[in-house]
């Protein structure tokens, strides 16, 4: 039985987690990173393509850009559901954070006079997105791993986090399964940071990687004390390429690419006369699905899709500024984007929801637990996230959480105070018996069929277009799945490297998240941002300008939904300015 002790334990080795680790280590405190994968750069943050938003005002078109413009764009994008205090804090910090990344050695693309270059993105008034060709996430992951290597931060690779260890309502650590030898280990710390990323795998068609199970959200939800914020808000990206749902960055449209229907028409101007192809992602995704529903889609690539035209940008532009799109198109779907149109169809991309945290990234309900990045609902994105704000959120949340934790550690002093091995041993015992129960079970439910059915239900009943009746059916169907998920058995009976067991262990947690999504989508009787209800197509500020908090009490069969008011400071609710026709 291994028990490790640190000042701070960080679950998740993506940008947010490592950025927080870098901050805390800077004063000599001991932290550790737990990752599911073998190396930090494999984390899903590296798949971010387009860029990171910061009002640097470096290009000729963005000279007049400032934090306030960034603030307004973000709040409008969020359909006024974002916490304005937090948005203000982050956008004011953004230029500092991006220049700091550059100082550390990030390889951003440059303008002709050597400054960080910026490109246009959806829903923004100025070109604001700092980028590195179209592999921004990849170079930032390279950079942040190089910082972690420089600071010699210990990384525990191939660890699946199983649960939080609680002492009353204070968190003192986590238990994790070693995926190589099958041991259950405890990692104790004064604070625990969850940075496990989103829960994209709830949906059948997703651009997310294979580790985006939402582990952090699930283990927080399982305590019964911590709510998920805004679970009805899920982003669908307009331009993944079917059938493997590999993303073509929003930068394609930012640089001047356009969406075309089967008649070769630039249809986006019909739906958003002001922004056209560069409206926010929720608006574009809905418009595309409406075009496909109106029989103006194209058959092929295993589905009905539309076209994205970037060949009009010219060969030179595509192979330098959109290098990876060029690479992905040729290798994965056999299309040469310098000569042909790219097939695209919306798919799940981002979860705006997550572990609800306050301004300081500390979670509701449990002391000492922090959540950052996509895993958290800090509420910078509200009902819809703008492209390029996710990378910014990871870096900003990592920095801010790091600073807050540093402050607390300075006050309280270093590690080990009041750590209780007894509680850790108890929790390890609980997890061991849970695993043993699954391994010993004979003739239970098949893990994969339960998992696939859940994804099918969520995709069909809580997709881009929703309605009350569907959501109600969805809740009923998910309840059955939830009962079945408690009854799974595995064929592969070993504790160590066992993919089936890994999935079985997270199944019930995922269904809990799915139930939160479905139920809060059912209850929110308005259309706002990414949440669209066919039966309530208008935004309703009078009744619904509030944030959903979904709790899942222990032993309950469905979530309990509460609400809290939204903080409006600088920008009162108004029109988003995309001219979307409802």
């Amino acid at each position: 039985m291994k028990i490790y002790k640190f000042d701070s334990v960080i679950v998740g080795g993506g940008l947010a987690g490592v950025r927080a680790a870098v901050e805390i280590v800077s004063k000599g405190y001991k932290v550790c990173l737990l990752t599911l994968l073998d190396k930090l750069i494999r984390s899903h943050s590296n798949a971010a393509q387009g860029g990171i938003q910061a009002s640097l005002a470096n290009t000729i078109e963005s000279v007049k850009d400032n934090w306030r413009a960034h603030f307004d764009d973000t709040v409008k994008g969020s359909d006024w559901l974002a916490d304005q205090d937090i948005v203000e804090g982050v956008v004011r910090l953004a230029p500092f954070l991006v220049r700091q990344l550059d100082y550390w050695g990030a390889v951003f693309s440059r303008t002709d006079n050597g400054l960080i270059n910026q490109r246009q993105f959806g829903g923004t008034t100025h070109p604001r997105c700092a980028f590195a060709s179209d592999g921004t996430g990849h170079i930032l992951m390279n950079l942040i791993e190089s910082r972690a290597a420089f600071l010699k931060i210990p990384v525990f690779s191939r660890r699946q986090t199983l649960s939080l260890i609680l002492d009353g309502n204070k968190v003192i650590g986590v238990t994790a399964l070693n995926l190589i030898n099958g041991d259950i280990e405890a990692f104790l710390g004064n604070t625990v940071i969850l940075a496990t990323g989103g829960a994209g795998l709830l949906y059948k068609d997703t651009t997310n990687a294979r580790t985006c199970f939402g582990d952090g959200m699930a283990i927080a939800l399982e305590t019964g004390l911590i709510p998920l914020g805004n679970p009805e808000f899920v982003q669908f990206h307009p331009t993944p390429m079917p059938p493997p749902n590999i993303l073509a960055t929003e930068g394609c449209r930012g640089d001047g690419g356009v969406l075309l229907n089967s008649e070769g028409k630039e249809f986006m101007w019909d739906y958003s006369p002001t922004k056209g192809n560069l409206a926010s992602r929720d608006v574009v995704s809905r418009a595309m699905m409406r075009e496909i529903a109106a029989e103006r889609g194209v058959d092929g690539f295993g589905t009905k899709h539309l076209w994205l035209d970037i060949k009009r940008l010219g060969y030179e532009h595509v192979i330098t500024k959109l290098r990876d799109v060029y690479f992905l198109c040729r290798n994965f779907i056999g299309v040469d984007p310098t000569k042909e149109y790219i097939p695209v169809r919306p798919a799940q991309h981002y979860t705006m929801f997550g572990v609800k945290t306050d301004k300081y990234c500390e979670s509701y309900g449990v002391q000492g637990l922090y959540a950052i990045g996509e895993c958290a609902c800090w509420d910078m994105h509200g009902a819809n996230r703008l492209g390029g704000n996710s990378l910014l959120e990871t870096i900003a949340a990592g920095y801010i959480a790091g600073q807050v934790i540093l402050g607390n550690l300075d006050k309280k002093g270093a590690a080990g105070v009041g750590f209780s091995d007894i509680l850790a041993k108890e929790e390890i015992g609980r997890q061991e018996s849970r695993i043993k129960k699954i391994l010993d079970k004979k003739g239970g439910e098949n893990v994969y069929s339960v998992f696939f059915e859940m994804r099918e239900i969520v995709a069909r009943k809580a997709g881009i277009f929703r309605n009350g009746q569907d959501a109600e059916l969805g809740i009923a169907a998910l309840k059955t799945i939830f009962e079945r998920s408690a009854n799974v058995a595995v064929n592969c009976k070993i504790m160590g490297p066992n993919l089936e067991l890994q999935l079985a262990l997270r199944l019930s947690g995922m269904v809990k998240i799915a139930l939160c999504v479905m139920k809060s989508a059912f209850l929110r009787t308005e259309s706002r941002g990414s949440h669209w209800r066919d039966d309530y197509p208008q935004r309703d500020d009078k009744n619904w300008l509030k944030r959903t908090l979904a709790y899942f009490p222990i032993d309950a069969s469905e979530p309990k939904i509460n609400y809290e008011p939204i903080k409006i400071t600088l920008l009162p609710p108004g029109d988003r300015g995309y001219g979307e026709k409802k």
């Binding site: 073998d38 798949a47 050695g105 303008t111 990849h138």
Partner: protein
């Protein structure tokens, strides 16, 4: 008509490390990658197979395996490009964990510590303005940064398998930090040159160019290695000449 594929997967695992092949018959689907093929087998045939995949778009480098004897990314390789008999084995060179999964992190972490693969700054940070970098240089650095550390170039390299050679991946990483003007610490630069100019670095390369043929990110590795050789020679030559003149 879809083909019926015969998939032979090498199984290695357990205490005694028994090695054998398991055969599976799978109906080929349109646009199927080898990773999707493994998913299919895992979910509906034999759940004990251990393999890894993450991003599914050649961006993370975790899913590198040997496909019909050649090191490739499982997510990028389409079954339609392969014969109906597909043999899947773990990568050479790296220690095997189970079945198709190897441990690459130790190799990469070791060389990253050795070459100090980070930018050593000495100048103070100015939050008001970033350092100016020529646009072309940024593009050059980006080309090196595209490496996903999948281990294919090392696994395919005959030289890496018996020496201390840090591989094409290691050499271009070292070259990247040598080229970066922000890497200001002269001690760190000397260290990079020492490693590049030894058997661990560029002189460990036997110019077999297997790395170039197999790089899944289409990085022109032999060109990158040539550029690195040119750069290190240039720097060393300058140093020697400077020393020569000083003595006079």
């Amino acid at each position: 008509m879809s083909r019926k594929l015969i998939v032979k997967i090498k199984r290695i695992g357990g205490q005694i490390r028994k090695e054998y092949f398991d055969d599976f018959f799978v109906d080929e689907q349109k646009g199927m990658s080898v990773l999707a093929l493994l998913d299919e087998i895992q979910a509906s045939r034999d759940s004990s197979i251990y393999y890894e995949g993450q991003c599914g778009c050649a961006n993370c480098g975790i899913c590198a395996i040997k496909i019909n004897g050649r090191p490739k990314l499982a997510c990028k390789t389409q079954t339609s490009d392969l014969p109906y008999e597909i043999v899947l084995e773990p990568l050479d060179f790296f220690p095997i964990i189970k079945d198709l999964v190897v441990d690459k992190s130790e190799f990469f972490n070791r060389f990253e510590q050795k070459i100090e693969a980070w930018v050593h700054r000495q100048k103070e940070f100015n939050p008001e303005k970033e350092d100016l970098i020529v646009s072309e240089l940024a593009d050059t650095l980006y080309e090196n940064e595209r490496c996903v550390k999948c281990g294919i170039c090392v696994s395919a390299c005959a030289a890496a398998s018996f020496g201390k050679f840090i591989g094409a991946s290691g050499c271009i990483a070292a070259h990247r930090f040598l080229q970066d003007p922000r890497n200001e610490d002269s001690r760190a630069r000397e260290k990079l040159i020492d490693i590049l100019f030894s058997d661990e670095g560029l002189w460990g390369c036997h110019a077999i160019e297997a790395c170039e043929n197999f790089c899944p990110k289409e990085i022109s590795l032999s060109r990158q290695l040539a550029l690195a050789r040119k750069e290190t020679l240039k720097i060393l030559l300058k140093e020697w000449l400077a020393r020569f003149w000083r003595r006079k």
